[in-house]
Symmetry: C2
Subunit: 205 residues, 2 copies
DNA sequence: TGTACATCAGTGAACGCGCGTTCACTGATGTAC
DNA sequence: TGTACATCAGTGAACGCGCGTTCACTGATGTAC
């Protein structure tokens, strides 16, 4: 072989990583194979030594982004007292920094709507990663049956991603900030919408 | 002139109307000029007699879809007792019918994320229509200062559109239904998250 | 009222371009002897 | 240990295709006389 044993895997991983940033920035169809390879310091011809098709890269890049997000938030949660975990994630998610940097942010608001129109295979892959993210969020809802925790996790995620989408559309002016603030309040309030949670909600405000 | 005075406007309106359906179904870049013209029973060559560019049609088609949605919900609200208006809209929005027919549904979940990546001109046009929709929703929140009503309207819209996006990604199985139910509950609960609203919430459940 | 002309919405061929994908080739390195 | 060969990640030209846009033309109708 031309390179050491691990070389190909490393290159493959680098392509996926760089692509995951650019695809979140530009959309699932917003950047071509040639440019994605250039991001990784390669030429387009080598692409098919790593991926069966462009779609295969989109799936891998999306999964990579989702894994990183889920993992990162799980770590944030671990470093936070249990009753504050949910709200800490929400507050970290709904920031102007996240709004203004889709490339390094959550893949759901960036790519979700487009993925909904892709092949069953792509949607299935998205669905699996989305469910893992829901599970991770549900783990941060304390003292509630699993089913109710999942409901809260899903509700928060829909509000969080929807808020990011709308605030991005609105740019970065007053309306955009109003959206961000409204979404934050709603997602935090929801975390408190259970019997014992009056205290949590008070803290969040 | 070849045709009666109104003929061109009628054709123009027909192109916009048909395009608004197909663009919501296929995405802002998911269908070409030729196919969009074919939808209206025309050939692609005539396109530039009606629009400066493809982007101009996307803007018009999007605005049309938003106007129709906002108008429709305003009518639904008018036909409903004041305290039930907000929840009625939410319940009409978060249905499997809406999830499974993006072409005739709300343009925000269908096109929002893509629009966020378009030119300033396109985003501005979206932003104006989005704000009109927020205003219409805020009008359905009774007995609350305007600013708070807007917050509730925005929060509900982010949850509603986010829920639709995620449920569409998840297909139409169990997970998708769970998302729909969770989002509905959250958006309805939020309408009740004000001093007097315990009764409304109880009705919603 | 009838005829010649002007208008312009719509047609269809053509354009330049960028895309995803293919393929013959390269050349640095691991392996066999 | 040194040499000949095989491997295969990566290169860059080329492909077929569909796209947005342009343009010369058509022909039904309104208008001028």
């Amino acid at each position: 072989m031309r390179y050491s044993k691990e070389h190909k895997q490393e290159t493959h991983a680098r392509i996926v990583k760089k692509a995951s940033v650019r695809l979140r920035e530009k959309g699932a169809h917003g950047i071509g194979v040639a440019d994605l390879m250039k991001e990784a310091g390669l030429t387009h011809g080598g692409f098919y030594a790593h991926f069966d098709s462009r779609e295969a890269l989109v799936i891998e890049a999306f999964a990579y982004a989702m894994d990183r997000s889920t993992e990162r938030w799980r770590k944030v949660a671990e470093a936070t007292p249990p009753e504050k975990r949910f709200s800490t994630i929400v507050e970290n998610y709904l920031t102007t920094v996240h709004r203004d940097d889709p490339g390094h942010g959550c893949a759901v608001p960036a790519l979700g709507a487009e993925i909904a129109r892709e092949s069953l295979k792509t949607r299935k892959a998205f669905s699996v990663k989305l469910e893992q993210m829901v599970d991770m969020m549900a783990d941060q809802v304390p003292d509630v049956p699993r089913k109710a925790a999942r409901k809260q996790a899903i509700a928060a995620l829909t509000t969080m991603m929807g808020t990011l989408v709308l605030s991005r559309v609105a740019g970065n002016g007053e309306f955009s900030d109003e959206i961000l603030a409204s979404g934050r309040e709603a997602a935090l309030g929801r975390a408190a919408a259970k019997p014992v949670a009056k205290k949590v909600r008070a803290k969040a405000n």
